[in-house]
Structure formats: C-alpha cells, structure tokens
Symmetry: C2
Subunit: 578 residues, 2 copies
Amino acid sequence: MKLDKLVGERFKEKPSDCVVDSHALMVRGGYIKFVANGIYSSFMPLRRITKKIEAIIREEMDRIDGQEVQFPVVMPASLWRESGRYDSVDNSLCRFQDRNGSPMVLGMTHEEAAVHLVREYGNTYTRYPFMIYQIQTKFRDEARPRAGLIRVREFTMKDAYSFHTSQEDLEKYYARCYHAYERIFARTGIPETIVVQSDSGMMGGKISHEYMLLTPIGEDSIAICPSCGYRANMEAAQSIIENTRDAVSEELTKVSTPGMHTIEEVCDFLHAPAEKSLKAVVYQKNADDGYVIVFIRGDLDVNETKLTNYLGENIHPAVITEESGIAAGFIGPVQMNAPCKPLILFDESVRGCNNMVCGANETDYHFTGLDMQRDLPDAEYHDFAKIIDGGICPNCKKHSITVSRGIEVGNIFQLGTKYTESMGMTYLDEKGESHYPIMGCYGIGVGRLAASVCEAHHDEYGPIWPMSIAPWQVHLCCVKAADEQAHSTADRLYDELQNAGLEVLYDDRKVSAGFMFSDADLLGVPVRVIVSPRNLKENVCEVVTRDKTYSEKIPVENTVQAVKELVEKLLKACEVQE
Amino acid sequence: MKLDKLVGERFKEKPSDCVVDSHALMVRGGYIKFVANGIYSSFMPLRRITKKIEAIIREEMDRIDGQEVQFPVVMPASLWRESGRYDSVDNSLCRFQDRNGSPMVLGMTHEEAAVHLVREYGNTYTRYPFMIYQIQTKFRDEARPRAGLIRVREFTMKDAYSFHTSQEDLEKYYARCYHAYERIFARTGIPETIVVQSDSGMMGGKISHEYMLLTPIGEDSIAICPSCGYRANMEAAQSIIENTRDAVSEELTKVSTPGMHTIEEVCDFLHAPAEKSLKAVVYQKNADDGYVIVFIRGDLDVNETKLTNYLGENIHPAVITEESGIAAGFIGPVQMNAPCKPLILFDESVRGCNNMVCGANETDYHFTGLDMQRDLPDAEYHDFAKIIDGGICPNCKKHSITVSRGIEVGNIFQLGTKYTESMGMTYLDEKGESHYPIMGCYGIGVGRLAASVCEAHHDEYGPIWPMSIAPWQVHLCCVKAADEQAHSTADRLYDELQNAGLEVLYDDRKVSAGFMFSDADLLGVPVRVIVSPRNLKENVCEVVTRDKTYSEKIPVENTVQAVKELVEKLLKACEVQE
C-alpha cells in the first residue's frame, strides 16, 4: 500500500473532545471518524487491525470446538419477550417497529437468538456439549458513550454460547474458555490483562469473570488484594467491615442541627467521626417509584449493583417529594413514619453499632446515642457497601485491598438455565427424562480491544501496535524521494519486501523526514525501514522498531532478509505456548 | 469437523413454506433458521460458505485498489437528510428514535456514510481516484421478503464507493470493477452470470448494470436479444413498437358497451383486436394522491419504473373514488373532463394510430374510430411500455427479444454527483477551482450470492457447492462404523487428510449408508471419500464427486494424495485467468 493513496487524514493537534489517549490517537491517525454519539466509521488501518483481531479470536474459538454461526442484528420483540428481557432491560435495548408495525429490537447480546437457533437441535443429551459463536455488529443504546472506541453504542463483538447437560460439564468448558481468553489477550498484545470476579448483571447467572486491562482511564473499578491475589470487580467484591462497639451506650437524644443536611456537616457540628454516623441513601424503584432507604456507615458508599441484585429490580436515585413525608437530610431509622412507607435496609457496616448519629426524621434535628441493638433490635443487615482502598480482603481477611481502574476487554458468564427455562428449551437424558440445558456465554468487543491495546501500548506520538494485530508489518520510508537513487532503491525494496510475504506500507511522498516520521508514528507499524541518500552513501538502510528497542543499519542487500526475520521474531513474541 | 458434532438438523421433507429450491435445501440441510419475516440465523455450514465468498470478494476489491473500511449499521437521520433520501426513500428505510429521541436509520446502503467518511480527505484533486468498500450487515425493510436468502430484510453486503475527478476516470474505473465482478461470479462458481443494463432507481445516476443469474425463479425480468447480444433489465429496456395506421380513418362514434369493464371484454364485444384499443392505466402520486392516467395499446403493459422515472416521483395503483369523476372501466382521452384533473400521458405504442377503441368517460359507453392524429393532435408520447417477448430489439431492431427471468447477484452504478453535491463534498483542482467529485457504487449481497450458487448448482438431493466456496472440501464417510477396521482406517484418513491441509467433514456415525449419504448430499461437499468394509476387502476407498462426474476406487495408501490432487483440480476450475 502506498501511503499517499491511503484514505484518511493524519494531524498533529489533539482534538478537544478526546479525553483518553487511544481516542485522540485514533482520530489523529486516521483510524476512525465520528458519525454520531457513540457511533464511528473505521478507515482502512483500523479495519486491518480488527480483521487480525477477529482472526485470532476465531482461531481460539475454533480451538475450543466453537462453531461459527450468525445471528440477526434485527430481531423480533417476541424473541426477547420469551426470555422476559423485552420488559426487564432498560432503554439501552433499542426497540422500534418495522413497516408493518411489528415490534423489533436491535441485538445488544444474543442469548435469545442462540437458544432459538439450537432449541430443536439440542433435544437429546447425545448432542451436548456444544458451543456456537458469531462475530457481528451490535447496538447498545448506552446513556453515556465515552472515550472513543472504549464505550460506544455500535460495536463489533464476538459472542459465544455454550450448552451443557451438567453444571460440572459447564465448569469444565468454562475453564477451557477462560484459558482461550487468556490466549486471545496475550496474542493480541495485552498479556497483562487480569481476570476478576464480576457481577452478572442483566445476563443472569451466578459465576462470571471479567478480563480487565488495568489503566487509569478505565471505567471499571477493581478490588485487588496484592497479598493473596484476590481480584474482583467493585460491583462484585464483598465489603467486610469490622464494626466497633463502645463499651457504654449513651442514651438516644434528639439534638438540634439547624441547616445541617449532609453527613459531613452533621458530624462536624456534633464533633462525631463519620464512622459513628448512619447515612441514609434514598432510591426509588423504576417499576413503581416506591422508595428504598439504605442506612450505611457515614464514611462508606452504597454499591448500587449489590442493591439492585438484592432487590431483584432496577432503581434510580430518589426524587424526594413533599408528599412522601421523608425529611430529606434528616432521615433516620428511629421514628420513621413517612406516609410513603419506604423499604428500610441496613448495610453490614452498621450491624450492632452504638453511640451513632442519625437523622431524627424531623427537619433540623438528629439523634445522638443510637444503639442498633437496643433501638432497632429487628434490623436485618446485608452487604450493600462499596469496597474501599485499604479495606479487608474477602479472601485472606487482611486490610490489603487496593482499588484500581480498568477496561473490561472481555467477560465470561455461567448463565445456568435462565434462558433455556424461560424459552422452553429442553433435552431428554439417557432415561428419557426432560431437563433444561445449562448455558455459558462469552463476549469480547473487537473495537474496544483494539482501543485497549492502543491504550496499553502507545507513546505521545502514536500507537505502538503489537506485530500480531498491526495494520501493516513494515513501514517503508523513502526520505528525500526526489533523490533518484533513494527512490529507485525504495521502490525495489517495496517489491522485494512484498514478495517476501510481508505487509508493507510505503511512503514515498516528497515531504520532510519529520513529517514522514510523525505520520509513521501515528500509524504505529512495528518495523520501520528508512531509505535515504545519506544511508545509501554507506550502502545501508536503517531498520528501527516503533517501540525504539531496536535500531540497526543494515546493508541494503541484506535488508529484506533482516526485516523478514525481525517481523517473524516480533510475531513469535505474540504467540502463546500451549 | 466431526459430523455428529455439527450443530443443526437435516431432514428429508420439503418445508411447505419453501417455494424455491435453494430455500428448501438450505432449510433441509441445516444452513439457515427462520427468525422473522426476511430474517434468518445461519448455522456453521452457511457461515463457512459466506466467509469464503467474502474472502474472494475482498481479494477482488483489493486487486482494484479498494480499501476496506467499515460504516455504521445505525446512522443518524441527519446524514440521510443531507442527501435528501431521509424523505425520498419509502418505508423500506427503517427509521426509529434512540433513547434521547434522536431520529436514526438502519443502513440499507451507505452512499451517505461513504461521503461523510471522505468528505474532508477528498478536498484536493491529488488524492483521486480512490475506492472504499465494506462488508457489513444491512437492513432493508422489504415489503415482500421471499425465496429464503434470495430476498431478505437483513443481509450481509459488500458495498463499494469510488470517487473521481472526471467522468472519463469514473468510466475507466467502472470498467475495472465490471471485470472484477465478472471474476467474482466466476470464482464463486457462477461464471454463467450475465451483465445487463439496468435502471438506477433510488440510487440516482444514469448508467448502471446488473449481474444476473438466469433462472426461472428469479424475480427480475431481462430482455435479451440473441441476435445482437443486447441485454437489459425489463425496467430499463426501451420498448419499440411499429405502429400501423389504417388507410382510412373511421368516424369517432360513441357505442354502448354495457357492463364491459376490461379491455378484453370490450374488444371481444366490439370484435376489435386488442392492438386496436387504448387501455387506460390509472395511478396516483404518492406525494399528493394526484391522478395519473397512462393510455397504452390494449395488448401492452405499463412499466412502472419508466413511469416513475418520467414523473420524477413515486406512484401507486389508483383508488378511483366517486369524487374523482373518473369513469372507471370507461376511461378515454377524448372528452375527459374529470374534476380531479388527472395528468394524461400517452405511450409510444399509440402514436398516430387510427380506428381505435377507447372509453367514452361515461359508464357503459366506449368510442370506436378514435384517430390520435385527428382527435388528439396535441398528444405527446413517451416510452412507458414493458418490452415483450418477440418485441423489437432496441439495438439491432430485429423482432428478436426474448424475456428471461433472473436473480440480480450484483450491481454497479455510475452515480455522478448526486451525493457529493447534496452533501457538499468538493475538491480543488490544479487551478484552485472547486468541483464536486463524481462517484460510482458497486454492490454484492453475500447471502443472496450463496443462495444463487445453490440455485444454479443443485440436484433434488441437495446443493452441489463449487470447491471455491464449499463449506468443506472433503466429506469422509465411514460406512458401517461399527466395523473396527473400517473405523480405524477412516480415523487415520481423517487425520491424514487434515494434515494434508484439506478441510474435512467426517461422518463416523453408526447410521445406514443411505442415511449418511443423504446427509452428505444435503451438505453438498464436492469430494466424498467412502470407507467401508466392502471397499477395504479390495484395499480401496471410493472417491466420488458430489456432481457425479467422477467416481474412482483408489488404493487406501494413495487416497490422500489422490484426494488432494482432485481438490486442487476443482479449486483450479474455479480460478479465472487475468
């Protein structure tokens, strides 16, 4: 490919709307173009990268006996009604009507389509286990697309679905897929990806894992215990609190706290530490706007995923109306008689505590001396708190938790029978008895993976693509292309490198070396070959790698062979042993 | 791949809803599953076929300097408003709102997205010409999906867009693409595909061609002149009529034709041949329901595409109301005073004719003796008629036209500046003057192509896939798999054939040979290797081709080599010379 024919523009200035590096570099390098919020077109360099990623994913899915199929992007609502998700999923599921007024949805995930495809085939135990997968465009109407390709609305995804006749068999296959994913991330150039326990969210099922690339720009928070190796998504990490109880319980006393609405203000005013206060966090259920109040220790925050999972329904931060009778800013668990009859929940962090500050359900008044055991003997406690930096590891019980940020580059779920039961898929076992197959599902977003690799491997000048997914393997630069000898040598090398089976991007534009190299940096091709009149005086080409770890002057006649070996070495570095 | 692990079911009975062979065979063979009207999921065998078709298309697009990109499936309505198509395209364009109420469309074609992607890049003449293409899912909300994958609503398509600075350059590139398409159809196994002139329809532009696979189940009609080689889609073919005029014109006479509504009834009643009658065909404009009446010779039919093109707007068959004042069944061009003021048009077929029968605009009355020259001297004539079998060839003028049916497997368009002008894409030429680039666009539906190949190459038992796109290259059958020697020999051959680089589907199920072979017929793999105890007694394997042109008994030890050579020969047969 001649660079002067490559469609797309490269430029120096960081676009003002790009807050993460991979986004800025992909816009600056002519990889993507914004079409609408969370929707991009891809230019050739990115398409070449994603095709290579897709090929690696296919190889690894085929290695674990996956069968590539294809599901529709547009599905009838009836399919999603069968599973119940037509109603349960929020408006990230895009619903519309076709020309005949039939309700349709855009596929954001394909459990329903997978069950539909194999419902008849999988009617007897002899056909299990099996796994089907596709690589296909999906649309999820995200409320907040961000960070370029990291969180988009339209994306290409590999989604796989396995079917089993026993939990044991699912777990065996899950382990194979777990390792296949490790291979995929290693082969695409981010072997540093870690696996964490996660919450299954709208997918259902109990056990699930996320593959996380740790980076400050990630939108997920991960609790890691360096001591024992425990790793979990914040949403799934159990929060353990060692509650302290004072020897003597003070009396419950109503005190005036005029105009003190926040927990900080109240604690400050009463000279109480935040850990000795009860914070009320108020939500409403999406279904009926019913109020839910969670009491949690003043220094902690509610993990809404845990709360949603406990309730089994979706919630949103409350709008507290006058009619509700809730005294916003002064809410407490004692003498709570709001006419709206809120559901009252307690986090584990306040179990059995005494001498606590809490609201008195009366404007400008709080209680001091609350004793949970004495004053609220019937309280039930659940884990609703976000784990914190320095918190207790749920595994080794040390105060060792660190919270890091990461990008979720893949996920795997043990789905159980959620979809096969709801959609009525059964098989007959050896004895002729009918059962629901047990499912697993396994996803990787292709574009997000490309952006994550860029995030992990770039410098201020551009991406540094791993050889396995680089848009081209070799970037041939002819510096001072007006020089006849340089140009003819570079032309010849272009042919010879291609004849050696290498993917070559050739820049013979009559531009300055600086201009040429900054374009090359933005395209991030791992091996660069520089032909210039100065080099040719010594009868050499410069061969350098984009990551600057290698730079040699090589006799012109040996260049093709040396480059071929270098490319092979770099390809090999992306390979994974069995 | 072991056949007993292949997800999907095969069966004997033709499904009652399948009217074309490729549809029935693809359902019976476990290639596709119906999800909704015009929407299918694909099982692995079809996905393997489409991947090979996609690879061939990519190679040919890359050969003509195409750059693979990717456009979104979901686009903002604003993009389609720029070109004007948001309003002009009928409800085959799927329109909906996203979660924020922003109007969006599902991509059914991507001219707008293509212009959007390169609008800035293409701002100077030095960057031309260039071509970008994608292979991506599209959704076109067809009113009448039919025939399985032949006409669907969701489909995978290769769509390419080229940009030029002169009509001459476009034509040069158009010719390259024309040949690339011939290569694609030859390589995928349907070299018999013919190219015909076509109507550009909603795409705009003047010159376009369709690639047609002739088959009685096709939904397009093609006018072919065997004499001179002229070929055109019926929609584009000029209808030439040699009008005859009697020497003596009779008088215009109103006659009673009680209850005679159709042209056949009237001609029968008046003993006039249909060629001596004027038929009125009534439409309404979609925009304002205004009436349009086309008068055409009684034995001919109106080509609605020609009429739409003439009018420059869409029409539908009329609903004739009482208020319109149109005397349905008795409409004529003389004394036509309907209050609805219809637009009156005449087809070339009635130019200057005399002694014609026509309606008298009065219930139960017709005229005889109509003389177009005498009675309607101001009439203007245009070509609105469908060309007919035995009609005059517009090229060689012989009465040689035959009308055949065909499936459109691809199309190419010279778009001109329709999109660049409407979307404000310009470039500066050498002199610094601004111009609109000239575009071409080029489409191939991948699934329809697969179905068309099946339509062209099958027997009553199943598809006969060409080697170039076959789901597997070799189908290994172990007949009487309970026999230990047969099974171990087949197992060994399975390994060896795969080690030889062949794609092998291996059937070692303990089923009857008949059952095994009918499954193999449905999967249509071109080369079959049969291992059986009976063959092994002679130390041979049977090697046969699915199309029955080859059948040999080959010593077991030579089988792998013989099969490898046979596969290579069949692959070569699909290749095309430069």
